[in-house]
Subunit: 287 residues, 2 copies
DNA sequence: CTACAAATGTAATCATAGTTTCAAAGTAAT
DNA sequence: ATTACTTTGAAACTATGATTACATTTGTAG
């Protein structure tokens, strides 16, 4: 493997001249960031002239300062992108290039980026809206996100009253909007291939005074122009389709957050639900 | 405290134009290293022109690209000398104990464990079964996993013919089994609070000579006694409910794998679908 | 469909960074 | 002390990066 700049410097340190050693000292001092500015700045920091710097990087084996700097940049990048988990293979039983590993790589990165860019205030605001039972809650999704919206709906129904699922994919949704009143919340999932009917729905809901919450991709659905709160998720994947894993994560986190926020009320609802399950014998008793 | 470039970008993201968002995406993608090269390189990576970059950094409040880059450099330097970054907090904008960070922690660990314990041969076997159009495919889920099963069904329908979704939650599923013949595949999602009807379904399908595939949790559904192939997922979460994110990940990976396996046939199906969408004007043209 | 405004890229211009030349200063050997 | 050689930085030069002006394209309202 190729040496890092650091190693090279140490290797040839003895053959360096006075000014060059001075410079080498500064570079190593807080390596590798010191070399990230311009050649002039580095020269000044080491109190030598720019030609001295230029000459030394050539001694180190680089064609010029830019190449030297590129090397440093790459080193920084390597250290950055996940000190530990850089190239761990997720499924050890499969080769690194197996779709299991490639896909998981992408998804992990999606999740990291989604979380890194999330605005926690928006999240908290949305949690508060969803937890407020005075506001009726409408949930809807598009073709791909329908499943997610249904999943959220299922859980929200357990947590609180007045939750409704709108099938955005049907054309019956205007009926659902009849009951909507000022201050109600409409939560919309919308990712690319943004659908026209979803946009219309948001528009109409907005007109009726509803709060619009949006969960969308990094390119943002046009619905965002009407939304009061929105969360952006990364959805890229090595596939012909996008990955909604990060949206699923956010949805579940929302469920957990809302649930936490109103545990008092939810607890009794859950018990009631359990009782009903018991009576209908849907589930196996203790496996 | 002064905002980081990252925060600033997110804050004004809404007011950005198409090309600028494209650029913002690239910057955030592997922030902050992407901004460390020259303006030209950054522009190329984002497929926009250099003026677009120059304009955006000004929108962000910097006097020009060099100042912007200086800021990034300082951020990198700060993170470098800061050893606390070890235990990474996913959403930096929220405290470590925020549900966003706690939940994500759990989910990341679920994914790691799920992948670590997966048997890639089982996965490949399942991929092959799903890719084989000679076998009709039936997909079903339980109360919680219904959404997942529907999601998989949606995609499988695009990829291949003869796919059917069985609503395990209704009591009409015996009807769906009438057409089932030897060698067909039944894919079942089943996680805890395993449902009786799901078990019955598996039993009957097995009797009719179907291959049973199972996606379940780490405690394993009783369906596994009938299954020919099964994948186990971790689903624990700091919540009153389980997290199905890892199942979603596996499902999407399966979709990608099957799709890859039969891309020749799938491609034309997807085009046909696109054409139909165009005709029905469901989607917005290029946002 | 037309007219206008906004967005974006091309190309010219300007600024700064990087390199090279060369002369001055330092150093060591005679 | 003189000469030959090495080191070094000032300054000229060159290349590349950043900015600006302007034309083209794209989208939108009338």
């Amino acid at each position: 493997m190729k040496d890092t700049a650091q190693e090279t410097i140490n290797k040839i340190y003895d053959s360096l001249t006075r000014a060059e050693r001075q410079l080498a000292g500064v570079i190593l001092e807080n390596y590798p960031m010191s070399g990230m500015g311009s050649i002039t700045r580095l020269a000044e920091k080491a109190s030598v002239s720019t030609p001295t710097v230029a000459r030394m990087v050539q001694k180190l084996g680089y064609s010029g300062f830019p190449e030297f700097q590129d090397t440093l940049r790459q080193e920084v990048e390597a250290r950055f992108s996940n000190p530990i988990a850089k190239h761990e293979s997720w499924a050890q039983s499969a080769p690194e290039a197996h779709i299991l590993n490639r896909f998981t790589d992408a998804v992990m990165s999606n999740i990291r980026q989604t979380l890194a860019n999330i605005d926690s205030e928006q999240f908290d605001l949305l949690t508060a809206l969803l937890a407020d039972e005075k506001r009726a809650l409408y949930i809807t999704g598009g073709r791909i996100t329908h499943a997610l919206s249904e999943y959220l709906h299922l859980h929200m129904q357990v947590i609180r009253a007045r939750v409704r699922h709108i099938r955005g994919t049907s054309n019956a949704w205007p009926h659902d909007l009849l009951d909507m009143s000022e201050g109600d919340v409409v939560l919309i999932y919308d990712i690319r291939r943004y659908e026209n009917s979803t946009l219309r729905l948001a528009e109409i809901a907005k007109e009726r005074g509803a709060k619009i919450a949006l969960i969308t991709d990094q390119w943002q659905s046009p619905v965002s122009q009407y939304s009061d709160v929105s969360l952006k998720c990364r959805i890229e994947a090595p596939s012909a389709w996008d990955s909604t894993v990060s949206m699923m994560l956010l949805s579940e986190t929302l469920i957990a957050a809302v649930q936490e926020a109103r545990w008092d009320q939810t607890e009794s609802r859950m018990h009631a639900l359990e009782d009903m399950f018991d009576q209908t014998k849907i589930f196996r008793k203790f496996v």
